[in-house]
């Protein structure tokens, strides 16, 4: 599929991912997070976003990647959703990248969990930028 869109990109466990920038409300550094005991594994906790209580999602877990080490200074990509803002916890925030080339097919070796969330892959220099499907990510969270 062709596109002339902009993706907000970030890194999780060394892999490069991107999201449709129009769905992203903001990116920020998450300082304090309150854990929610007994919550589903994907939910890391709650953060205070200018007075709003926002869910913080462990993207590592959702994508089947190895666990982040420690909680210190994790970055958040805050998405807009019908239930209010939701924050995805990532390692590093990268630039906004423009993609207008054709998406590559996904390799079969990719983890099943991750595969269902990824729309396509785009080469970026030596790396591969994997575009996440925002709606599917949100659905996964609400399960």
């Amino acid at each position: 599929m062709t596109s002339g869109r902009e993706l907000c990109t970030f890194e999780v466990a060394g892999c490069l991912f991107g999201l449709d920038v129009r769905r992203v409300q903001e990116v920020l550094r998450t300082h304090t997070m309150t854990r929610v005991p007994l919550a589903p594994r994907a939910i890391r906790g709650l953060i205070n976003l200018r007075g709003q209580i926002v869910l913080a999602i462990d993207l590592h877990y959702c994508l089947g990647l190895r666990q982040t080490l420690g909680d210190s200074c994790v970055m958040s990509v805050v998405l807009r959703s019908d239930d209010g803002p939701i924050s995805l916890l990532v390692d590093v925030i990268r630039d906004v990248a423009e993609v207008n080339d054709v998406a590559l097919a996904l390799p079969d070796t990719l983890d099943e969990n991750a595969r269902s969330l990824i729309r396509g892959a785009y080469p970026r220099g030596e790396r591969l930028l994997l575009e996440l499907d925002v709606d599917r990510v949100l659905d996964r969270i609400h399960q």
């Binding site: 309150t34 005991p37 007994l38 919550a39 589903p40 906790g45 209580i53 869910l55 939701i86 399960q143």
Partner: protein, 826 residues
């Protein structure tokens, strides 16, 4: 939907509510012209609007009702219960049709022709009256005056249909009648008169001067009346209030009434305004945010020395508090709204059950949050239904008992202690604790031994168990054993309490206590692990600091459940860290200190072990995200003063999760009875270890133990050499174990400290064994030891390094010293 239709629906619903009230009042006072006039006006207004909007069926039914009312108004018909019942049926029919209009846009409800026929039949009866010339005291305007209003030449046509006259009146022009404002009733032209209306006219009364005059009168009345909003009912209310309750609405006072109505309308229009509930909700949320921001600012500036900043902060603080209170008030509605349907319901119930009940409502203006109001509507209906069906006796029975034949059901609402109290009291038969106990035992909710030692309050609390009913048979109304449970669940869900008080033969009172609002609550902040949590004040009983995990500090283990002796009761403990599966050291800190928060959930109490207790704060409750809503332990989240998010614990959910609250309270006692019913010679029995003085060591089998108590000496009475204490609504004899065994008594004589009492039961007898000290409770007691042959002692055991005497509880209790406290049901 059209704006006009919407308006019509809203107003008509209000009008019908008023109509119902008036009809019920009319039944009690059949001669009240005022009520008839009010009812007539309402039905007439609905009929007119229905005609204008093209709702034919609605108009038909309304007209049929109006005709009956016309008879009533003239005194040609008396408001007998039968007549009122028919009119109430009209009210119901109209309501049903309005609902159909709202959902489908048309009034094609079911066929109401039967109703219309029965109404006509009612009117038909009046022809007999009319011909005998009987008239009621209140006669409308003398015919001479009436004749002037409509010149005879305006009568277009007169047809004879059988014995009756049908006349069509052309619509008087507006100018002629002087109507300045729009009135839908005015727009009825000959062509526009619904055929049903005309058809119904065939049953108009005998020919004479009455018919056209009356029609003209109606039209004149309509003219004098001003347009759609505010509703006539509202105007009437205002008028009544102004006139001191007996508003003069007869035709004679028409012109004066018109001007009064006008000024009343003006006042009414200015004082209220309709607002969308969703807008109020949004405002409420914003105010909630403001409160949070205010809290943060307070915290930030607390340490500042800048006096200007502090002054400004204080100012902001005050404004925010006032705004918050004002906002809460906008969502407050008088409880009258929840009680609105009750008079009619009681009226109908009385007819079904064949009883006579007077409903008194006090404190109608007591206000509470709209959401809470919605939540208690159902519980109140259940309570009222129960009271009428079960509580209040039939008239004959009441008279036989010397009570007035008419029962009284009193609803009372008032504010107190920051909460709303609602009491539903009846002067009926009351609740018989013995019957309750029997039923509870029958249904397996409780076993006879425990029933024996329940206090009266506990017995009444049994009534709230699901499935409980003492009704011998299902009646149409209740008896399924659902009502009380529903009440309790609903009230618990909004953070309230329910209590039942009763005196046999005199009556019963159901008392509900509910918080004023949901969104902003006072909470105690505690920590467990590294996280902080908020506990709603409503669930908080007490905070206790314990010295450590040892018998003196009060944390003991009973059947692998941690307990604490709290005011004479074994309080089950829950370790918050454990329940939430938090990391960190599971046991209390090294110095042995632990913080215990005593909480209340439903009627049960338990203690929550936490790491630290912080202060109390007012917190804004934020709903949890959708994906978290399934967590029963949390009821919401909030942002604390320092900006951190804290979860709010759902105490009931927590209690259920930790299994300290179950269908049967005091599950510990249940377990005991199940595990070792009477095991004299089996190893591993549970024992309560006591001491008597420095040397004697005693053991009491746990199965015989009901409670461990600490009793003040002052409470103990010496009755003829026996020690008795008032205990849980009954008398408990105390046995000095040492003396009973023939040893020197150490406990009852000397010191001033409270008595250590092990309340035991055996063979239906109950007594308190007084010992020097209660030391421990062990699970796996040693195997049987030696029999000593000492009266009162079964055998000696070796526990640890000590020799312990196992007491023969049955023997001790069966001695003459004890008095049977409760007899078991045979």
């Amino acid at each position: 939907m059209d704006e006009i239709v919407k308006e019509f629906l809203v107003e008509s619903v209000e009008n019908l509510a008023q109509l119902e009230r008036d009809l019920l009042a009319l039944e009690r006072a059949p001669d009240s012209a005022h009520d008839v006039a009010s009812i007539f006006r309402i039905v007439h207004s609905i009929k007119g609007s229905a005609a204008f909007l093209g709702y034919q069926h609605l108009g038909e039914v309304a007209h049929a009702g109006e005709s009956v009312l016309g008879r009533l108004r003239e005194g040609r018909l008396t408001a007998t219960p039968k007549v009122v019942a028919s009119l109430l049926a009209v009210c119901d029919a109209l309501r049903e049709m309005l609902a159909t209009i709202e959902s489908s846009g048309t009034d094609n409800a079911r066929d109401f022709s039967e109703l219309v026929m029965s109404l006509r039949a009612l009117r038909g009866e009046t022809t007999v009256l009319a011909s005998t010339g009987a008239t009621a005291p209140e006669k409308p305007v003398p015919s001479a005056q009436l004749a002037q209003t409509v010149p005879p030449d305006r009568i277009a046509r007169s047809d004879r249909v059988g014995d009756e006259t049908e006349t069509r009146l052309p619509s008087p022009s507006r100018a002629q009648l002087g109507a300045t404002a729009y009135d839908p009733a005015m727009d009825v032209t000959v062509e526009g008169i619904p055929s049903a209306y005309l058809a119904a006219a065939e049953t108009m009364p005998p020919p004479g001067t009455s018919m056209p005059e009356r029609r003209a009168t109606e039209v004149r009345q309509a003219a004098a009346r001003t347009p759609i909003s505010p509703s006539p009912a509202a105007v009437e209310t205002v008028l009544n209030e102004q006139a001191g309750g007996s508003g003069d609405t007869s035709i004679a006072g028409e012109s004066a009434g018109a001007s009064r109505r006008d000024s009343a309308l003006q006042g009414l229009a200015d004082s209220t305004i309709r607002v969308d509930v969703s807008l109020l909700d949004r405002l409420m949320t914003q105010v909630g945010e403001l409160v949070l921001a205010r809290n943060r600012i307070n915290q930030c500036t607390a340490s500042s020395g800048d006096s200007n900043l502090l002054a400004a902060t204080r100012h902001l603080d005050g404004i925010t508090t006032e705004l918050q209170e004002g906002m809460m008030k906008t969502r407050m509605q008088p409880i009258r709204n929840a009680w609105a349907a009750l008079p009619r319901m009681v009226h109908d119930l009385c007819r079904i059950c064949g009883k006579s009940v007077r409903l008194i409502m006090e404190g109608e203006t007591t206000a509470l949050d709209k959401t809470l109001l919605e939540a208690i509507k159902d519980p109140i209906v259940h309570a009222v239904r129960n009271a009428v069906d079960h509580g209040i006796e039939p008239a004959t029975e009441r008279s036989a008992r010397g009570k007035p034949a008419e029962g009284t059901l009193r609803l009372r609402a008032f504010h107190e202690g920051g909460q709303v109290h609602i009491e539903i009291s009846d002067d009926g038969a009351g609740i018989d604790p013995e019957r309750v106990k029997r039923k509870a035992i029958d249904r397996g909710l409780i076993n006879p031994e425990r029933a024996a030692v329940l206090s009266e309050a506990d017995v009444l609390a049994l009534v709230f168990q699901p499935g409980f009913t003492t009704a011998e048979a299902l009646t149409l109304v209740s008896g399924r054993g659902v009502g009380m449970d529903v009440i309790k669940t609903a009230v618990d869900a909004i953070g309230g309490r329910v209590d039942l008080r009763s005196v046999v033969g005199r009556g019963t009172t159901l008392a509900m206590t509910i918080p004023l609002t949901l969104t902003i609550v006072k909470a105690l902040v505690v920590s467990a692990g590294d996280e902080r949590f908020a506990i709603p004040q409503a669930n908080l009983v007490e905070v206790i600091r314990l010295a450590g995990d040892s018998p003196e500090s009060g944390i003991e283990t009973l059947h692998s459940v941690k307990v604490h002796r709290y005011r004479g009761v074994l309080l089950p403990l829950v370790d918050l860290r454990q329940v939430l599966e938090l990391d960190g050291d599971p046991s209390p800190s090294a110095d042995g200190a632990a913080n215990l928060v005593v909480l209340r959930a439903e009627d049960a109490r338990f203690g929550l072990i936490v790491d630290r207790v912080y202060d109390s704060q007012e917190v804004v409750v934020r709903p949890l995200a959708r994906s978290l809503k399934g967590l029963a332990l949390f009821s919401g989240a909030t942002i604390l003063g320092d900006g951190c998010v804290a979860l709010i614990l759902d105490i009931l959910g927590l209690a259920r999760h930790a299994r300290v609250v179950t269908a049967n309270r005091n599950e510990l006692l249940d377990d005991r009875e199940r595990i070792a019913p009477s095991a004299p010679a089996s190893a591993g029995r549970s024992l309560v270890l006591c001491g008597n003085g420095p040397h004697a060591r005693l053991a009491i089998p746990l199965d015989a133990v009901v409670r461990l108590e600490r009793i003040e000496r002052n409470d103990v009475d010496d009755v003829g050499g026996r020690w008795i204490v008032s205990y849980r609504g009954g008398l408990l004899p105390l046995i000095d174990v040492a003396r009973a065994l023939g040893d020197e008594s150490t406990s009852l004589t000397a010191v001033d400290a409270p008595l250590q009492v092990v309340v035991c039961t055996s063979d239906g007898r109950c007594a308190g064994l007084v010992v020097g000290s209660i030391n421990d409770v062990i699970e796996n007691g040693p195997p049987p030891g030696h029999e000593l042959g000492r009266a009162g002692v079964v055998e000696t055991l070796v526990v640890g390094n000590e020799t312990v005497e196992l007491l023969d509880v049955a023997h001790l209790l069966s001695r003459g010293d004890t008095v049977p406290v409760v007899t078991t049901e045979g």
